[in-house]
């Protein structure tokens, strides 16, 4: 991809988010929740994109284990990072939504909230693991395995509202009778599309950055660099006055 196509994709993402925002603002207030229900248009796409991102991390890891080509490790790593961003956004918007509507930011015994928080920290752990292993092949292998195992959390988070009695409401859109009026559903789907383009744009830039990082790492490994600070000589202070 050329520099121009990266910029074009970013521009499309910005325009899509603006269109999504317009549809969200044009939606009427919900009958019970009023304007607070509008947070749905950011909260729900964020959560779904986090699921998608962690799915791509799993697939990237699995393909790397089979093919051992660096691109798949970069895809997996980049997607985990973007997924952590969307999970954080879902948690944050959930708290902002919960405060006026439920009357609380957070509930420590709610299965959806706790499982999402655990998922967030496990993927932060995935990113920490990557930074703790210097050897690219070892790093890619261990990350791929963690990325595959960690994905079991996605169905757990998704099903938490069905399996347990929670403060968080159950699923709306996937219910057979989808109890959502078309005006809200349309705005939600447009925002989901916009967030998907944002994901694609983040991924394009992040994978490119990962490739450049890898190239730099290889260059540094072969170059005979002086160690940091070797260009500086210690100043000669002579005798320090007052020194005994």
């Amino acid at each position: 991809m050329s520099e121009r196509s990266y910029r074009a994709l970013s521009l499309v993402a910005v325009v899509a988010v603006a269109v999504g925002f317009g549809f969200a603002m044009a939606a009427p207030p919900e009958r019970i929740q009023g304007e607070f229900a509008k947070i749905m248009f950011v909260h729900v796409p964020s959560a779904w994109l986090a699921f998608l991102a962690f799915g791509v991390t799993m697939i990237g890891g699995a393909v790397w284990l089979m093919k051992k080509t660096p691109i798949w490790d970069r895809v997996a790593a980049s997607s985990a990072e973007v997924g952590v961003f969307f999970t954080a956004l879902a948690l944050l918007t959930g708290m902002i939504w919960g405060y006026p509507v439920w009357g609380t930011f957070w509930d420590w015994s709610d299965a959806r909230m706790m499982s999402t928080a655990i998922m967030f920290f496990v993927y932060v752990g995935y990113l920490a693991l990557r930074r703790s292993i210097p050897d690219p092949e070892t790093r890619a292998r261990r990350s791929a395995i963690l990325g595959i195992i960690a994905f079991v959390q996605v169905p757990i988070v998704y099903l938490s509202v069905t399996l347990f009695r929670t403060l968080h409401q159950g699923a709306t859109v996937v219910r057979a009778d989808a109890p959502i009026d078309p005006v809200f559903l349309r705005a939600l789907m447009i925002n989901l599309g916009a967030f998907t383009i944002v994901y694609a744009a983040f991924m394009a830039w992040r994978v490119r950055l990962a490739r450049l990082e890898d190239e730099l790492e290889e260059t540094e490994a072969v170059a005979d660099f002086d160690i940091a600070g070797s260009g500086i000589t210690a100043p000669n202070l002579g005798e320090v006055p007052g020194d005994v």
């Binding site: 919900e30 019970i32 006026p100 509507v101 015994s109 261990r142 009695r165 409401q169 005006v183």
Partner: protein, 138 residues
């Protein structure tokens, strides 16, 4: 294959954590609240003063504002319990909405000091049926 020492414990820990989450002690915690029917059936397990959470719908026509807070009847369609709540309820509090109250039995009524709204997963436009009333005018 140096990575194997790392993989086995990692898999083990994740399986243990998930197993504990799903089937272990946290499971009791994840019950989250008792319905009015369960609360009445298990009243012997929760003597006066023993705190638990009670969840259900606010029965129409039972909401009364008091000096200290609000009183109402919470129901699951089967059993109903009188709730005496101390404190200001959240702004979405109204008839026919889901609530979770935290407190304890006090004789045959429930005394709560924490009230949160447990709204459902429906999203309805105001003109579908009935006019939309902003929360501030309730």
């Amino acid at each position: 294959m140096r990575y194997k020492w790392f993989v086995l414990p990692a898999v083990g820990i994740i399986v243990l954590v998930l197993g504990f989450m799903l089937f272990g002690g946290l499971g009791d915690n994840l019950i989250y609240y008792l319905t009015p029917s369960e609360a009445v059936d298990q009243q012997a397990d929760f003597p006066d003063g023993e705190r638990f959470r009670l969840g259900g719908l606010v029965t129409e026509g039972t909401v009364e504002t008091t000096v200290e807070g609000v009183t109402f009847v919470v129901t699951d369609g089967d059993r109903s319990i009188n709730v005496v709540h101390t404190g200001a309820p959240p702004q979405l509090f109204q008839e026919n909405i889901g609530v979770v109250v935290e407190g304890a039995w006090a004789g045959n009524h429930f005394e709560s000091d924490t009230l949160i709204i447990n709204h459902d997963e429906e999203y309805r436009a105001p003109d579908d049926e009935g006019a939309y009333i902003p929360p501030s005018e309730n």
